[in-house]
Symmetry: D3
Subunit: 137 residues, 6 copies
């Protein structure tokens, strides 16, 4: 079993706030992340899949194929977008890095089953100091 990781990037706006809370409560809980007019990040996404390398190609999965799946299903929807307003699979979800990683997993996991490999983890870096990782439950 080999684990293979592809990095892709996206640049998005978001804010952390609950519409049913007052501005004061949102700032109290979320601090500057609650800024009314949004803020944003360069996100680094690391997708790891696992499987047995093919005897013919030496590949667990062709990285061009993996990159295309990620770009078409995730990056196209997140890059240069607003995570609160523009993304179908984030509708009604608080766009914390944790929740974003879980939702990216939910989008990618069924698409990768078709290939002879399995999604192993989603690692998502919001800044050079903050990151999350999700292994699917």
């Amino acid at each position: 079993m080999i684990y293979i990781t592809r990095r892709e990037n996206f640049n998005s706006a978001h804010k952390l706030s609950r519409p049913e809370w007052s501005d004061e409560k949102n700032v109290e809980v979320f601090g500057k992340c609650a800024n009314t007019n949004w803020h944003g990040h360069n996100f680094n996404l690391f997708v790891t899949v696992k499987g047995i390398p093919s005897a013919e190609t030496g590949f667990v999965i062709d990285l061009k194929v993996l990159s295309s799946i990620i770009k078409e299903n995730i990056i196209e929807k997140l890059d240069h977008k607003n995570l609160n307003l523009d993304v179908d699979f984030m509708k009604g979800i608080m766009p914390s890095t944790e929740n974003l990683a879980i939702k990216i997993w939910d989008e990618l996991e069924p698409l990768l089953k078709v290939h002879d490999c399995q999604l192993h983890s989603i690692r998502l870096h919001e800044t050079e100091n903050n990151s999350v990782e999700y292994f699917g439950q």
Copy 2:
């Protein structure tokens, strides 16, 4: 003459679009950077000042002082903000990385004259692939 550089970071939302242009024209000129609902970046700011090291301290400028000047006058105003809407010194200015670097220079240059050093350059990285540098004309 020694050149000394301090890095600070800020995470902001922005968009590139001219209000007097149609959405179509804005997308034609600015591409996905014109996304109506904003996008964002982790900006890396490198401020370089030059001067003669003090015989007593070996410092051109105390980096704690330089860092405080940058944080109070620049980072406080840009971090977790919207560059089009929230920043006094960017009002009415297209928030391209180029213009942002020039305006940061204009804010910092008079503040650093007070100390025995001079602002040399503002280098601003929007992504790991894109950066600008400004030397004050």
Copy 3:
């Protein structure tokens, strides 16, 4: 279950040597790390905790809280200090990166139990080529 990681840094002096050994034996075993007058490093510390994201905030733990816990209990004690002489929880301990990671775990683990999350690992980079990771036994 989501894993969330916070990076903090500290810059410290240390040396590897046993006082009951001769200088020759210390140099034989520890090489240049035994230099009598110390040497030092920029350490990068990655603290990973795991838990379920809150339905309200989307957070496993507020990263500002995690960062404060690490800074008050670890960084304050290690940064710009001598790991052999200045640190209460390293007294009498050989300050190898391995032992330092274990002691940081021992300090942080009880403090994080209070929150709805668990310490998962301490990863400590001494240089860009050398790092250790500890999972609590």
Copy 4:
């Protein structure tokens, strides 16, 4: 149990193609990686071993020893070489990053048993976007 990681680098040429396939088929399967006249990479190799720190030295393994074992047995054979033509342990093996990581494991694993530690994983970065990890089956 502590996990300790040493990074080493090597710069090599390779190509992905099967001699029994036509050029067209090789390009169809391997894309630009099949370029007849080779291409190359700066590989980053991360070797992780695990064990109990020595009570005397605080070391799982002396990193100078680990580095020497990797350099003599792996880097000497791969650095500034052609992975398809010049490397004894890659003869007849498709030099995908996956297969290269497996073969590096096979070379290092018996050499590390002699010491009081165990090989835990081989992580190999081909570019900043592509990497693999192998845990020995």
Copy 5:
């Protein structure tokens, strides 16, 4: 005047050797870089142009345009290629990093004159330890 920099990458094979010299002399002069069967690198290319930001767009040059010019004229010709054998503008030229940077300048400089900006420098990183920069004479 603002300086704007775009990074692009390419992965290539090369060797340093003069065909009219013996193998011994080539190894004596070029060391392991003379390996008969090639070696390779991940090159990082930084192209800096300078100009006045447009009053309308805030751009010195649209980075999508700059990136396209570099990709079509440089990256397409160098990426996954052999610098000694496959590249028209390197024919008969020793592919040292120095010479490669000069030839990239010679290719790009006339193409950028058409736009309202000027090529300022070509910076080329062969490894994380080795790089060159060329300012056009």
Copy 6:
């Protein structure tokens, strides 16, 4: 004229304090950098030389030669040492990053004149946020 840069690293202890000042005054001026028992850093040193590439080799200077000169004359003296106590060319000098860069220039400049190239600059990174550059006055 081509500029070529070699990176080397060293890990050292130091402190900033003037023996003729009281502890209080040293802490007031130098903050935590005055810690009595030292602290330390991983320093990154970038040495840039300039010259014309040789028609035969394509080299401004053989990077193996440049690396050896830096290692023998600078790294050997600074790595795993105390910058206040152990270094001949820093005796009596406040070991600020500024002063250290100037003294490294003074050591290297005469040694590089012998070769067909000139020292252009010394860039020294103390942390990822702080660096200095010196061009020899």
